[in-house]
Symmetry: C2
Subunit: 377 residues, 2 copies
């Protein structure tokens, strides 16, 4: 499937289609952390994310009663909701006082199926992190290490137990249940580069090969599946990355996390990812996960969510324009309004109308005043 509709069997939320030829969609991550548990705040993040154009929400909660929080978010959100069940596997095990090596593989499946049961529209499972990765990890000279929470927790469990990743081992069973529940499987990139130096290294490329194998099986079985992509990628490798992943994964819808094009700008990763996301979208990514200014620093607050969504929307729209795909914004109509200094019209058409509403009144803007270029010829 080159186009996937995110909507589970039980969902009353609107559906969203992602994939080839469609306008690029964007996702906003929300959720509690062990040191930040406030459901009301998370629901406010849902509101602000949707207000500024998030097409989907992912609940990445790792603090508090995760299932209860998920259910609240599922009933609150008007847009599709995704989750990463493995977080809950480790959080619940930890609360039960279980050490990592004592987590049973069946528990990975049990938690995953609870997410299906609760009606999530899509889940990230890091099924492409396998025993092979442990071999590569031993000899790797990665600069950034393993930066995916799901990926690193899976590896840790595999190393401690000596067993294969349950989300890989039981992939057939998982597919069956996913299909039954009409849940989309997002094949995570647990080994994505977390430093631009690691872009397209052996850990990443070997995982992409496995993502491709799994996607092939999913397509054969008519199971909705998408692929997750990086990560940290230098500007000059974005095209290569996107085309490589698209080719290896049979054109399945590609969901990228950024990519961010430099590592040195914490506090501004909504910008580093807008650069990478716009380019990734132009070269074929279908779905962009936002990155907020607080990435690499802290759990995002509400303002971070707003800035993250807007920056991601800018990236998606810029890529849509470059690909000649219409979305909800129209640069030509907007610029015609600007040409006439028609602020009311611009306010209606802008990505963030409030920025125009809040400007000082006056026909021209306060940068040029009466020397406004638009009034001369």
């Amino acid at each position: 499937m080159k186009i996937v509709e995110l909507k589970s069997r039980k969902s009353k939320r609107k559906s969203v289609k992602i994939g080839e030829g469609l306008p690029i969609k964007i996702n906003a991550n929300i959720g509690t952390s062990p040191v930040g548990i406030d459901l009301k705040k998370e629901l406010k993040k849902v509101d602000i994310a949707i207000k500024y154009g998030a097409d989907t929400i992912m609940d990445l909660s790792t603090g508090g009663n995760i299932r209860r929080i998920r259910k609240e978010i599922l009933s609150y959100s008007k847009v599709p909701v995704g989750t990463v069940p493995i977080y809950e596997v480790f959080c619940r095990a930890s609360r039960k006082g279980l050490s990592i090596k004592n987590i049973d593989e069946k528990f990975f499946l049990e938690v995953l199926y609870e997410h299906f049961e609760d009606g999530v529209d899509f889940v990230t499972i890091h099924s492409a992190v396998t025993g092979k990765a442990i071999e590569i990890l031993k000899k790797t000279k990665r600069v950034g290490g393993v930066v995916s929470r799901g990926g690193s927790l899976t590896l840790r469990w595999m190393i401690e137990t000596g067993k294969e990743n349950p989300y890989y081992k039981y992939f057939d069973e998982i597919m069956r249940y996913a299909k039954e529940n009409s849940v989309t499987l997002s094949i995570g990139d647990g080994l994505r580069p977390g430093a631009i130096d690691d872009s397209l290294d052996e850990l990443q490329t070997s995982e992409i090969e496995i993502q491709g194998e799994l996607i092939k099986i999913a397509m054969k079985n008519n199971v909705k599946a998408i692929v997750e992509g990086p990560g940290h990628v230098p500007l000059n490798e974005v095209e290569k990355q996107i085309k490589f992943i698209k080719e290896k994964t049979y054109g399945a819808p590609l969901y990228v996390l950024g990519p961010i094009v430099t590592d040195v700008a914490p506090g501004y990763d909504h910008i580093t990812s807008a650069i990478g996301g716009a380019l990734a979208g132009y070269f074929g990514a279908d779905f962009l996960c936002y990155v907020t200014p607080s990435e690499h620093l802290s759990l995002p607050d509400i303002e971070d969510v707003k800035l993250g969504v807007i920056a991601c929307k800018i990236a998606a729209h810029s890529a849509n324009v470059a690909r000649g795909i219409k979305d909800e914004f129209d640069d030509r109509i907007f610029s015609k309004a600007r040409r006439k200094l028609n602020w009311k019209m611009m306010q209606k058409l802008a990505i963030d109308p409030e920025k125009i509403k809040k400007r000082k009144k006056g026909v021209e803007c306060s940068m040029c005043g009466k020397y406004c270029a638009l009034k001369q010829v």
Copy 2:
């Protein structure tokens, strides 16, 4: 000259080299407007711009005693200072009660030479806006109109007087004085697209041809000259634009204003221009002019200047990395520090150290807490 050193004969400020093979430099515009005159504030903008990495400053003042303000900024700034003398031509004429058609062509030169005398390091002159543009303007279907202040004021004067642009007509004389004073001529793009729809239209391309002719003459006469580029350019045309301009202007250092890749995001044009600027830099632009969040809305305040400089720095650095050119930031060393959760080291190495300083203390960040990916394997 494919490399130009910005430093005038009288300058005691440090010099900055721009051009082929060098790390991309960035410029921050400051200056008063008719409705915002506060010298102290402008000097604070100089401080903050330099603090966050601006390599040069342009004083675009159009409010208050422009010459006095310029002299203050020239003596205050530690980095090269550029100006756009035509603004002062029109401001002073207006104050004298002169209508546009009564401004004498000699006054254009008089004001320009005052800027040379005052010791500015580079000046933008819109010498490539000529009578030819008026012909094209009559039949053009531009969406965004003429958005360069200098370009539109020049056209207005030419239309009202029926005369040729003095900065074109007297280009030879201007070159001589510029050379004497070691001032760099920045050949402005008065007809740049101000809407992505207008990218590479006849108005723009015909001006680029003339920019090329002027650059050729300047090179022949060993006069320091650079070229200004757009503007509003869709993502898919950035490469074409940059390569076209570079080719037509004999590889002269290219100074781009953005480019911004969508028109619909006022309030976030530091982001739309970071996308375009990173790409432009990757494809050969040498010098990026920042765009602040307040572009298209108001005169920037101090926070806008900070955000504009940082976004522009991110674009420049990302492009430097992609081109394999070392600058003051090192992604590998930074990511090694991140791998070790060494926040002190990251603080030293980040584009904005304060963002790291202000985070909540703790070994891991508050997004994942004890589930930090970096601590698992």
